[in-house]
């Protein structure tokens, strides 16, 4: 029996810091060269220390692994490399005991071609599962639907020789789309959700949700039918499982993404995709305008919902939500080697994107943590791990977590050759130079800074719950804004430039208050009627709490 380890709190995710884990790459608990749930349990103390609130697991299900596990061949079993369902239950229990919640990737849109449902569908067109996938005699239907994996797939239709019909797939051809127009498919997917919720999981990151339904004359994205089904999923979850989270992956413009929140009755969280490349762009251009603009363009969302914000994740740094011109700029600045490009994106980790700059890493995390939303960290980025652009597809950003300078980076006791991927060994990012053990011991390491910074953010619910007000200044190299929640007023000022900058901020509204810097608790001069002058170091930032004059020591 799973015990209750939390106070009831349906809005927990609004104040949470998320941490994304590639199970295969985290820690090998049984010495077979591949990470697993026993290994994850061993590292929970580390994650608890780091201070993250919710672990997001990449796909863990049975799969032929032709798409990193997003090609599921059995929704009710784990990939054998990762362990048993019992291991998973134990992992969730142990995470809960340490005050961390667990959500997992779930792909509803499609299955692996190896899934028995698909095999039955193609061999018995008139059988029970004959209509569980989207079949067509022609490959001309839904012409408006774009091809997403443009580097790999020529069309969304592939002919199945056995059935003699084309099947629909928005992603790889070995990932046929389920036919959600079929009520049996809808019900089957709810059954999948219940199975994992009964095991104690705290929610799902729903992969590729915009594409569940398709209809002639549309681009097959964000259809009303899709939203209707997601609302049904939410209602079913809420009815039986309190405090669970649905987090939608909808790589769309904010005005389309907000529909996935419904009226607070669909997904509680959605990723904010377009803000991410703009943070990188702003840093390169030394200009805050792209960040201000995208936040201006971001509609209001229901109070019980939240944006998920991130710098990097397990996929390529996606450039779907930028203009062609912006994309060219991003490629030119961040992907000088063509190997670094993938589809419409850049397949690199955070530290190499920033040329291993420590100030840049701190600045981007400060901006990320200050924006309205819940930050999602990607494993390894807290120590500044690098990537390997010579590995295929997205494997370059999925190499083993670097725990120590020991054999196999402390990731596994298997033979070197047996590892699913070899850890990085280059002189800058290799495991001798970049690892958890060394950084734990070094008070000024990135890891120790991240731990302190996560703790600081969690001390102030305003970052998760507060309102956002931009403070644009004449000096556009400065990104400044105010967050407010109840009595807590926080002003965040970030210098995107490589050079020191001065900025004058109009703070007359807060006249009489005293800015207290939040990391060192130093009081700055009180705010008056005149513009407030601040000077910032290159790539520097200040977070201030604004407090009434009498309340500052």
């Amino acid at each position: 029996m799973s015990e209750q380890w939390f106070e009831r709190d349906p809005l927990w995710f609004k104040r949470a810091v998320f941490y994304e884990i590639h199970i295969r790459g985290f820690f090998d608990g049984n010495d077979d060269g591949s990470g697993d749930f026993r290994g994850l349990i061993d590292k929970l103390d580390y994650l608890e220390w780091l201070g993250v609130d919710c672990l997001w697991l990449l796909p863990m299900y049975e799969s032929p692994l032709r798409d990193g596990g997003y090609d599921i061949s059995n929704f009710f079993a784990l990939h054998p490399d990762y362990g048993s369902v019992e291991d998973f239950r134990e992992f969730v229990e142990q995470a809960h005991q340490r005050g961390m919640r667990v959500i997992a990737d779930l792909v509803m849109n499609h299955t692996s071609a190896d899934h028995p449902w698909f095999q039955e569908s193609r061999t018995e067109p008139a059988g029970a599962k004959g209509n569980w996938y989207v079949w067509s005699e022609s490959d001309e239907r839904y012409p408006e639907a774009r091809v997403i994996f443009i580097d790999a797939e020529p069309s969304n239709w592939t002919l199945d020789q056995l059935r003699g019909e084309y099947y629909w797939h928005r992603f790889f051809h070995h990932q046929p789309d389920l036919n959600f127009a079929n009520p049996e498919v809808q019900e089957a997917m709810l059954e999948v959700l219940r199975f994992w919720l009964d095991l104690g999981i705290d929610g799902f990151r729903l992969d590729a949700v915009p594409y569940l339904f398709e209809r002639e004359g549309t681009n097959g994205e964000n259809l009303p039918e899709t939203h209707e089904y997601l609302k049904r999923v939410r209602a079913e979850v809420d009815a039986r499982y309190p405090d669970r989270l649905l987090l939608a992956e909808a790589n769309q413009w904010p005005e389309d993404v907000v529909d996935y929140f419904g009226d607070g009755d669909e997904c509680q969280m959605c990723f904010h995709f377009p803000v991410m490349p703009r943070m990188f762009m702003a840093l390169r251009r030394e200009d805050a305008t792209p960040i201000y603009e995208i936040l201006d363009r971001t509609p209001h969302i229901p109070d019980n919902c939240q944006w998920g914000l991130f710098l990097r994740n397990h996929d390529e740094l996606t450039l779907e939500m930028v203009t062609d011109e912006e994309r060219d700029y991003m490629y030119a600045e961040y992907a000088k080697d063509p190997r670094m490009k993938l589809n419409l994106g850049i397949r690199r980790r955070l530290a190499p994107l920033l040329d291993a700059g420590r100030d840049e890493a701190e600045l981007l995390h400060a901006i990320l943590f200050s924006l309205p939303g819940s930050p999602v960290l990607y494993y390894g980025d807290e120590i500044g791990m690098g990537d390997n652009v010579y590995l295929g597809d997205r494997d370059g950003v999925r190499t083993p977590m670097q725990w120590s300078g020991d054999r196999n980076a402390g990731f596994s006791r298997a033979d070197w050759a047996q590892l699913y991927l070899q850890p990085l060994m280059d002189p800058v990012y290799g495991f001798q130079a970049v690892n958890v053990e060394a950084q734990l011991r070094t008070p000024n390491s990135l890891l120790r800074w991240m731990q302190r910074f996560i703790a600081l953010r969690k001390e102030h619910p305003v970052f998760g719950l507060g309102s956002y007000k931009p403070l644009p200044a004449e000096n556009t190299r400065i990104f400044a804004h105010i967050r407010t929640w109840e009595e807590d007023i926080v002003m965040c000022v970030h210098n995107l430039a490589r050079s020191a900058q001065a900025v004058q901020l109009d703070l007359s509204e807060y006249a009489g208050m005293v800015p207290v810097e939040m990391l060192g608790r130093t009081a700055f001069p009180p705010i008056g009627e005149l513009p407030y002058l601040l000077t910032l170091a290159p790539r520097g930032f200040f977070w201030f709490q604004l407090r009434p004059e009498g309340q500052v020591e």
Partner: protein, 445 residues
């Protein structure tokens, strides 16, 4: 039941722990009737919900039926306590609307069979309510309920099974399981009458007979060692099996203590002369910590007492009795059940010798021999290390000393912050402790 009356009643209680929070709602989640005859006696689980959306669950005892409910006055509490003990005796299961309350007698506890005589309430407690019968039995009622098994019950049952005798025997317990939560509600124990508290005894004897108290520490070291050996003796019970700490554990511990040192030293006032010996030496302390944790194993981790000091001991018929296995009250139940190095308990006891010596000086004007604390440490440690299962500790004396110093530093830094905020007159104790550790560490390296 009137919600407002309920809020007023609960927030007035000594055991109510969220005094700084705004209560928005109170609700009875479930009621278990202990006695149907008049006056009807019941216990209830009450949820207090705060304006932030968080909540706590408390156990209430009350008499009366649906009308005219009166809450626990002392006299009624005694009546309810009797009902609870008698329910344990017979092993009752009582049904509520959302779950069940189960009452259990402990095996081989003959005192449970006796008639209950005079009862008195214990007046000094913070988070629980206790009733003593005939100066022989004590019923502890847990007020703030947390999901999961209570560590005190778990530890007492385990230590009793392992034949560790230096604890008050467990007589029985009761718990609730159902929709709202699964939790231990209370337990019955032997009450050790005629005993003297270890802390009080220390203050008297350090003043009047310092050698006699030192002699007693030989035995305390031995008893502590036996407790740890017993706690680490069952590899088959997952809640107690000794474990190898994770590879990072020493690094995580160092990082945690290091951050705490940095924080505390950052906030030290510049002008407090009592801080003199350590003022401006924060970086030096951190450097020592790094050296102390640089190499070596941390031994194994086991369930520990968790809040171990002289105040948690009694001396009865010249034998030490260890009390209160609940762990540090400010920590969550999950943290209190966590396995740690037994040396953390040892460090707690050593720090308490420093406190006892100074407290005797401050409160009793005693003249304490300069080397008393040092000798107390030696006496306690010598028998402890001789007796304890050595596989629980890091290998080798030097490694033990180093890890012990880390835990003592952790405690002393915590004390420093606490005393600065609460008892400025006592600041000298942690200051001396930190200074002492820096000196010792420098010598050991």
């Amino acid at each position: 039941m009137d919600e407002q009356a309920l809020i007023e009643y609960v927030t007035r209680q000594r055991w109510y722990g969220a005094k700084s929070r705004m209560v928005s709602h109170a609700e009875v989640l479930d009621t278990i009737v202990l006695r149907h005859a008049e006056p009807q006696l019941s216990l209830a689980l009450v949820e207090m919900r705060y304006d932030t959306g968080a909540h706590d669950i408390y156990q209430l005892l009350f008499s009366g039926g649906t009308e005219g409910v009166t809450f626990d006055s002392i006299r009624e509490e005694a009546g309810i306590a009797r009902e609870i003990v008698s329910a344990m005796r017979t092993g009752l299961t009582l049904q509520g609307s959302q779950g069940v309350a189960e009452f259990h007698p402990a095996e081989d506890f003959s005192a449970l069979g006796r008639e209950l005589g005079a009862a008195r309430a214990v007046s000094t407690e913070q988070s629980n309510s206790s009733m003593i019968f005939d100066e022989a039995l004590i019923l502890k009622v847990f007020r703030h309920l947390e999901p999961g098994i209570n560590p005190e019950l778990e530890m007492l049952r385990f230590l009793t099974e392992r034949g560790f005798r230096n604890i008050p025997a467990l007589g029985g317990w009761y718990g609730y399981s159902g929709g709202p939560l699964t939790a231990t509600l209370g337990l019955l124990q032997q009450y050790v009458a005629g005993a003297v508290g270890g802390w009080e005894l220390a203050l008297v004897e350090i003043t009047d007979a310092p050698e006699r108290f030192l002699d007693r520490l030989d035995r305390l070291g031995e008893v502590t060692a036996k407790m740890h050996t017993a706690l680490g003796a069952d590899p088959n019970d997952p809640a107690f099996a000794p474990e190898e700490p994770s590879v990072e554990s020493l690094g995580l511990l160092t990082a945690t203590v290091d951050e705490e040192i940095a924080r505390v030293f950052l906030s030290l006032p510049d002008d407090d002369e009592r801080l003199g010996p350590i003022l401006g030496r924060g970086e030096e302390v951190r450097e020592q910590l790094r050296l102390l944790t640089h190499a070596g194993s941390a031994g194994r981790v086991i369930r520990t007492h968790g809040d171990y000091h002289l105040g948690q001991t009694l001396l009865s018929n010249n034998e030490w009795v260890i009390l209160d296995f609940e762990g540090e009250p400010a920590r969550t139940l999950v943290e209190r059940r966590r396995k740690r190095s037994p040396l953390r308990d040892v460090a707690g006891m050593l720090r308490s010798f420093a406190y006892a010596a100074t407290a005797a000086e401050l409160t009793r004007d005693a003249e304490i021999p300069d080397d008393w604390e040092e000798r107390a440490r030696e006496r306690f440690l010598e028998t402890y290390l001789e007796t304890v299962d050595a596989t629980l500790l890091p290998p080798g004396e030097a490694a033990i000393e180093r890890l012990l110093a880390v835990f003592e530093l952790e405690k002393a830094v915590y004390e420093l912050r606490y005393e600065l905020d609460n008892r400025p007159d006592w600041v000298g104790i942690p200051v001396a402790g930190i200074e002492r550790l820096m000196r010792a560490a420098a010598e050991a390296l």
